[in-house]
């Protein structure tokens, strides 16, 4: 997936969101929309971090709780909580985040490979770190964050995704 390959482009636009006081970024090209929290219908027999499904304008859309996904401490859903809907291989998947903060334009030379020093949640899924003047933004490999969910949840999807 070219959009998530952070090195492939000279310049990149990121949607930046907060999760347990850390800033995470995903390529704007993968983001379909950002919506307010809404009722999630839970689906039985799925991993804990799969919150369930929502009705996204008539489409059944699965939602993943990123705090649970990254084993971060749980908090109440707050006013700023958002669902970031991303497109992974043609399927929309929602991610619950603490807040969506900004859209950033960064250049490739601002991105560094992930170091082992990162202690933030989801370090296994970080493909790079964007160093900005005031903050660090952790770039997520959405493919890994979301499709490994499915691989664990249902072996069938591995074949479907291949």
């Amino acid at each position: 997936m070219a959009e998530t390959n952070t090195k492939a482009r000279a310049e990149q636009q990121l949607v930046v969101f907060d999760l347990a006081q850390e800033a995470y970024g995903v390529d704007i090209g993968t983001v379909r929309e950002i919506i307010r929290m809404q009722d999630v219908t839970s689906v039985p027999h799925r991993p804990d971090y799969v919150s369930g499904v929502i009705n996204l304008r008539g489409r059944i859309t699965p939602v993943v709780d990123l705090r649970k996904r990254f084993d971060l401490p749980q908090t109440e859903i707050a006013r700023d909580s958002r669902i970031v809907v991303v497109d992974i291989d043609g399927q929309d998947i929602g991610m619950i985040v603490d807040a969506v903060t900004e859209v950033l334009r960064i250049s490739a030379d601002q991105i560094e490979p992930p170091s082992n020093m990162i202690a933030a949640g989801g370090s296994d899924y970080i493909v790079g770190i964007a160093k900005l003047e005031s903050q660090l933004v952790l770039l997520l490999d959405l493919e890994r964050v979301l499709t490994t969910v499915s691989a664990e949840g249902s072996p069938e999807l591995l074949a479907a995704a291949a």
Partner: protein
């Protein structure tokens, strides 16, 4: 395979669709010919369809297809002239030619497995045709009469509407003419030069194949006028006479316009029919199914938006009571609501097809199969007009093939055996469709030997699928339902016909996959009836909404036989774990859905279940424990998507009018994995489980009781 060079994919698509229509028509008619005997009308219709097919094959330059078409046409011509009488050999030859034509068609559509072998069929047709007449050996075959198909009529109408003149010149060549093909070619090229040639007999393919008679019959649009046209044609060498026949989109030209040689001319009424059909045809359009599905999806989203707008409107109304705009908002919302509902209904209707479209495909199969097994079978179909969603139709073809094959192969006895048992030698196999309480029922009924449950039990035990002990305790109905045991073959020895490894279990799972059900009714020596109950559409499913913990689930009503309130005196616990409900002397295991779907926080405890929904799947029956019930309603079926994968006990999701998502229970899998056959005490004489015939009212009645 070679085709004319300038065939576009669009042309090809049109050809394929037309070809399929004609092939289907021929299939039906030829079988009718065998069953009802020959009539002038029928032969004429068959001839016309064969001819149209040959013509369109020639148009796209498919020589082989045209050749087979020609051979069958020759045979049909002799039938029509009364030179031959219809017999099995002829019908079989004709049917084989259809197979080849269909194979060609499939080859064109890219669906073919292997190259069709035309020589054998042409030889078969020629053998059936018998020795050709002397005249035929000398003379090349006659060209087909002028075919005025939909396209031509449409073009004529268009030209007339545009004020252009349409002529039908009939050119007769001198008897002395030795170069008919050349002259015909000249006529055609002249006509093409001075105008637009709409149709011509002989066609260019026929001219190429030297199939040219003494007359050339053409329809041409030209601006040069009749005189100039006549002059141009007369200037061609060997042209004896040029007559003009009036062309109109209405009645066809007079019979006498045809010379004796053009013996295949359609009679007046048939041409009229053709043109009528053409006009009717222009009132419909073909539409890609995918586009229709897309439309249905978008309308589904509209339905949800409509509900949202309604809700927002109500909020606004309470907030701004005095604003005039609120009233017009609610009016507009009301109107939108009505239009969207109508749209939804129409799009559902547009997806419906009569089941006859799939029934027709069986007539031939049944005939061939019965013939090959040496059995006499009268195949009757009923209720072909019953409409059902096209997606359902696609999914029932294979199961029905299997059921019909089974009926002929295993159900129906040989003629001798039937005679010995005092039954008529010819067996009756009836395939019927009818509406039943919001479902479509399709019944496959034979008057054969019925299912021998003792033999069935032995076979199941012999195959290690059940123990001797368990089968000996089975009721007759349970034993009959053993036919659905995976891995079972009921045939004494595997026959070519049914020994294909696909069992009744596959049939059942295919039917259940579309929220349908299958039941068996059989009596030794009298026959077997299998009834499929199918939803009208796969897009929606009539469901009972139940609450489990804090969540709602939809249970497809097709599985539901009744709902009851659980009371302590009907509930017994065995082995400290398994709960059993006793309902009218029948003991049914209770599955509390809370155990299957542990809800999130706030989920009710399993002990709280107060209602039981009794569901049936195959021969198994279980009670599903839930917290509460609501009115049955039609819900739209949506997939959970690949990310969620297969979820145990869940078949999909639906969006309610208020925008909530509700999961749809996969009742068949719940019953089959969690359920067992009804447990029984030795003392309890149980009623055979069978589907209640009036599910909706049964449930509604129980809801009232529950309320």
């Amino acid at each position: 395979m070679e085709l004319a060079a300038d065939i576009t994919s669009e042309d090809l698509k049109v050809f394929l669709e037309e070809a399929e229509e004609q092939l289907q028509l021929l299939d039906d008619d030829i079988l009718r010919l065998e069953r009802d005997g020959a009539s002038d009308e029928l032969l004429q219709e068959i001839f016309r369809a064969a001819h149209t097919l040959k013509g369109s094959a020639a148009t796209i330059g498919h020589r082989n297809m045209a050749a087979v078409g020609h051979a069958s046409e020759t045979l049909l011509d002799r039938l029509r002239n009364g030179d031959l009488a219809v017999n099995t050999e002829i019908v079989t030859a004709l049917l084989h030619s259809l197979d080849i034509l269909r194979a060609f068609k499939e080859e064109l559509a890219g669906e073919a497995d292997e190259e069709p072998d035309i020589e054998a069929v042409v030889a078969e047709l020629e053998a059936a045709t018998g020795a050709p007449d002397d005249a035929d050996t000398d003379e090349p075959a006659d060209p087909a009469p002028l075919s005025i198909d939909h396209g031509v009529v449409a073009a004529i109408l268009e030209a007339e509407a545009a004020g252009d003149a349409v002529y039908r010149p009939i050119v007769t060549l001198l008897e002395s003419c030795e170069w008919r093909t050349v002259r015909a070619f000249q006529v055609v090229s002249e006509l093409s030069t001075i105008g637009t040639l709409l149709a011509c007999s002989p066609t260019s393919a026929e001219i190429e194949a030297d199939i040219v008679g003494r007359t050339i019959d053409a329809i041409v649009i030209t601006k040069v006028g009749q005189e100039a046209l006549e002059e141009t044609l007369r200037a061609i060498e060997d042209v004896g006479s040029v007559e003009f026949v009036e062309v109109s989109s209405g009645p066809s030209p007079a019979e006498d316009a045809e010379t004796d040689e053009a013996s295949g001319a359609p009679d007046q009424s048939s041409a009229e029919e053709t043109s009528h059909r053409a006009q009717r045809g222009s009132q419909t359009v073909r539409i890609d199914v995918e586009r229709l599905d897309n439309l249905a999806n978008m309308i589904g989203e509209l339905v949800i938006d409509r509900t949202r707008i309604g809700q927002i409107g109500r909020v606004l109304a309470s907030r701004y009571k005095d604003d005039e705009l609120i009233e017009s908002l609610s009016e507009t919302t009301g109107h939108l609501s009505k239009v969207v509902s109508e749209l939804q209904e129409d799009i559902m209707q547009a997806r419906m097809l009569p089941v006859g479209t799939v029934f027709r495909r069986f007539t031939r199969m049944v005939r061939d199969l019965a013939l090959s097994l040496g059995k006499q079978v009268e195949f009757i179909t009923d209720g072909e007009d019953t409409e059902i969603d096209r997606t359902v139709i696609e999914r029932i073809y294979d199961p029905l093939v299997h059921l019909l094959r089974n009926a002929i192969d295993h159900g129906i006895e040989s003629a001798e055996e039937r005679r010995a048992n005092g039954k008529p030698e010819t067996a009756t196999l009836r395939l019927s469709a009818y509406h039943e309480h919001g479902y479509i029922a399709i019944s496959v009924k034979d008057d054969g030997g019925g299912i021998d449950t003792e033999k069935l039990k032995q076979s199941v035990v012999a195959n290690g699928l059940e123990t001797q002990e368990s089968v000996s305790r089975m009721s007759r109905s349970e034993a009959v339902n053993l036919i659905f045991t995976p891995g079972l073959s009921t045939a004494d020895e595997t026959t070519e016909v049914s020994g294909r490894g696909v069992g009744m279990d596959i049939v059942r799972s295919n039917i259940e996959a579309i929220n349908g059900s299958i039941t068996v009714d059989t009596a030794i020596g009298v026959g077997t009836e299998l009834i499929l109950r199918l939803p009208l559409t796969l897009a929606t499913v009539n469901s009972l909404l139940v609450k489990v913990g804090k969540h709602d689930y939809a249970l497809p009503l097709v599985y539901v036989t009744e709902t009851i309130k659980i009371s302590q005196h009907t509930l017994t616990t065995v082995s400290g774990r398994t709960e059993l409900l006793t309902i009218r002397d029948q003991v049914i295991p209770l599955i509390r859905l809370h155990d299957i779907w542990p809800g999130g926080s706030g989920a009710g405890r399993a002990e709280d279940a107060v209602f039981a929904v009794i569901v049936n799947s195959g021969d198994k029956r279980v009670a599903l424990g839930v917290d509460s019930l609501t009115e049955p309603q039609e819900v739209v079926v949506k997939s959970l998507g690949g990310f969620m994968g297969e979820v145990k006990g869940i078949s999909g999701a639906s969006i309610m009018a208020d925008g909530r998502v509700v999961l749809i229970a996969d009742v068949a899998s719940l019953v089959n994995t969690a359920g067992r056959r009804p447990q029984r005490d030795a003392q309890l004489q149980s009623e055979a489980p069978g589907g209640s015939s009036d599910l909706t009212s049964a449930v509604a009645g129980n809801l009232e009781d529950a309320a």
